[in-house]
């Protein structure tokens, strides 16, 4: 699948990569309901991304846009602008899957409405005095940095998941996940660097991860339960079980739990920096061969 395989040390990674959004499009006309054949749990665990990301990434874009005037580093500002464009296209691409499901009669609105409420209302603009408004913005940037560490972890995993190819997962969906994953790996340090530039204290950074990781896990579990219940092919007969998850990750169809927990704790180390993890090399190489990214108009 890949021209070369890299270790995770980040050695030899090209530095200072310019971030540019890619104008990708995906055609879902041939998408099967269970795009990992005979693996509804694997399919729906990945599908939760489509439920969470459009609202989440629009929220990132909104907060990053608000943060631009606070930035006193031109290089970081360029990175933030590139990040904003990439996240906008990510949100749009995942939204495309939701829109396609609608044509199948799958209604994800109840779940998505909750996610939108979380980002727009609880994590949105609150009625705060001016001094607290900036603190609230920066605290939420710490949450984005934590989420971005998780998305980079998942992106790195999906770039190294030949078992999904072997299981004959739908190539267009795999390309969406890997294109997105590769861009997450390439821009993995931006949110962290933005938080470091504006605040940088250890406690708020670690605290943000400690609140973010459990909430994401909880939303993910709810999402899988919701999708399995809504799936017209399953008709509510198949219930998700933890043992199915562990079995699938042992077969490398889903990320192993220990890797997710390990990376969450890794983020909480005082001298952590995202550039020390994952391979920019591999992500850049994928983007040069991804069907969607190479077809993108320029």
């Amino acid at each position: 699948m890949f021209g070369h395989r890299r270790n995770d040390t980040g050695r030899d990674n090209p530095d200072n990569v310019v971030l540019e959004p890619r104008d990708v499009t995906f055609d879902w006309a041939d998408l099967p309901t269970h795009w990992v054949p005979d693996e509804p749990l694997v399919t729906h665990t990945c599908n939760v991304l489509h439920l969470l990301l459009p609202a989440g990434e629009r929220w990132f874009v909104d907060l990053f846009t608000q943060a631009i005037p606070l930035i006193k580093d031109d290089k970081l500002r360029e990175d933030v602008l590139g990040f904003i464009g990439q996240e906008t296209i990510h949100a749009r691409s995942h939204q495309g899957v939701l829109d396609h499901w609608k044509t199948w009669g799958i209604d994800t609105d109840p779940y998505v409405a909750q996610i939108e409420w979380m980002f727009r209302a609880t994590l949105g603009e609150r009625d705060l005095p001016a001094t607290r408004r900036e603190e609230w913005l920066i605290e939420r940037l710490a949450i984005i940095a934590a989420i971005e560490h998780i998305t980079a972890t998942l992106g790195n995993w999906v770039l190294n998941s030949p078992a999904l190819d072997a299981a004959q997962a739908d190539p267009t969906m795999l390309d969406l996940l890997r294109w997105h994953g590769a861009e997450e790996v390439v821009h993995r340090a931006v949110a962290f660097d933005l938080f470091t530039h504006l605040d940088g204290r250890y406690l708020p950074r670690a605290r943000a991860m400690l609140i973010t990781a459990p909430i994401m896990l909880w939303l993910w579990v709810r999402g899988v339960v919701f999708l399995m219940r809504t799936d017209p092919k399953l008709g509510g007969r198949v219930k998700p079980r933890w043992r199915h998850f562990f079995r699938a990750s042992r077969r490398h169809l889903l990320p192993p739990a220990h890797q997710l927990v390990g990376q969450t704790l890794n983020y909480c180390r005082p001298f952590y920096h995202p550039s020390k993890e994952f391979s920019t090399d591999q992500a850049v190489a994928y983007l040069a061969s991804s069907p969607a990214a190479t077809a993108a108009a320029v």
């Binding site: 021209g3 090209p14 530095d15 990569v17 290089k75 464009g85 906008t88 605290r207 850049v284 320029v298």
Partner: protein, 358 residues
């Protein structure tokens, strides 16, 4: 009551708001109040100076109309490291900003090298470097940054068109040093106009193919170039747009499997007419020249404005239009959105003036 105090409906459609989300709302409210006193201790944001002060140390003629500039730090210190594919953002004495690929040796931390072809009919950046910058001149630069990253692969086909050899040259040398299978197809108007032939002659001549448009026509077809690709090669291509287009089109039928090409950030503005923008909130009127975008003009006034792709597809720079007829050139807005908004990165005014909510 604020929106965030009313949780969304329950997932199973029961009458009460979702209890779990009510708890989540309370949790995040508590989290926010934790941050309440944080501003007492948050350190102030430090300004980061990214300017490199450089001195032109040596100028060499590398080919017809092509000169290379060896740049060293004004204070003699080590320069920031770079990898093949990196470019430098150079601020010229007149204030023009131009990007030039680094074409020297990445292991040499004492100097950078850029090479520039003088384009008599160009926008003036190359003329300025050729005509007004001499040995000992000072230049301010930013970077290096990498928009064309060179990554390790099993084999390479490098394609350079004319001055497009600049980012390719360090890549070829790196691939040769790594012992990877590689091929170079180097095209140009004529042999005399193609820089760095002397440096390339130090490499394995069986791997270097020179093609001048005098001999083989322009643009060469993609398949003609791609026939030299080693099996499952990664292609790096930098050159005129028609060559890149041909290579992109013929890549799927070749032995190559991946393509990197140097993307130019802002494609030229076609049929641009000058116009004025009135900014209501900042109470200013700006003039947009025919060869600049509305966004560029706005950025001069509002440096913190959000934008991203500069090609009209991401929609980040979408702005509300208060009056004026817009020539929409984006590929992102819906017809509904076009009634009262525009993307300033590519769209222009049909008339003399548009009024924007900025």
């Amino acid at each position: 009551m604020d929106d965030y105090q009313i949780p969304p409906p329950d997932l199973r459609g029961r009458a009460h708001p979702d209890r779990m989300f009510r708890m989540l709302g309370a949790l995040i409210t508590a989290f926010e109040s934790l941050t309440n006193c944080a501003h007492l201790r948050r350190p102030p944001t430090q300004r980061v100076d990214r300017d490199l002060n450089l001195v032109v140390d040596e100028i060499r003629v590398e080919g017809q109309d092509v000169r290379s500039f060896r740049l060293v730090a004004a204070g003699g210190e080590k320069l920031p490291s770079w990898q093949p594919g990196c470019h430098l953002d150079v601020l010229l004495p007149t204030g023009r900003r131009r990007q030039y690929s680094l074409c020297g040796d990445p292991r040499d931390r004492g100097s950078y090298r850029i090479a520039v072809r003088r384009i008599a009919a160009g926008a003036g950046g190359s003329r300025e470097l050729h005509d007004c910058v001499g040995t000992g001149s000072t230049l301010t630069a930013r970077g290096p940054r990498n928009a064309f990253p060179y990554v390790r692969a099993g084999g390479y086909l490098f394609i350079a068109g004319g001055i497009g050899i600049t980012p390719i040259l360090p890549m070829v040398k790196q691939a040769a040093a790594d012992g990877a299978p590689w091929q170079l197809v180097y095209t140009g108007r004529s042999r005399a106009s193609m820089p760095f032939l002397d440096e390339l002659s130090e490499l394995d001549p069986a791997r270097v193919r020179l093609r001048s448009y005098d001999e083989c026509g322009f643009p060469p077809s993609g398949s003609e170039i791609l026939q030299y690709a080693p099996d499952r090669a990664t292609v790096y291509c930098c050159g005129p747009a028609p060559i890149i287009a041909n290579v992109r089109r013929d890549l799927p039928d070749s032995a190559a499997q991946a393509l990197h090409f140097e993307r130019f950030t802002a494609p030229p503005i076609v049929d641009g007419q000058p116009f004025e923008i009135a900014l209501t909130r900042s109470n200013r009127v700006l003039t947009v020249p025919p060869d600049r975008s509305a966004l560029e003009a706005i950025r001069q006034q509002i440096p913190d404005i959000a934008y991203s792709c500069r090609q009209g597809f991401c929609g980040t720079c979408r702005t509300r239009v208060i009056s004026g007829e817009v020539d929409h050139r984006d590929r992102v807005l819906t017809d509904r959105e076009r009634t009262d908004t525009m993307t300033t990165c590519v769209s222009r005014s049909r008339g003399d003036q548009i009024v924007l909510d900025l």
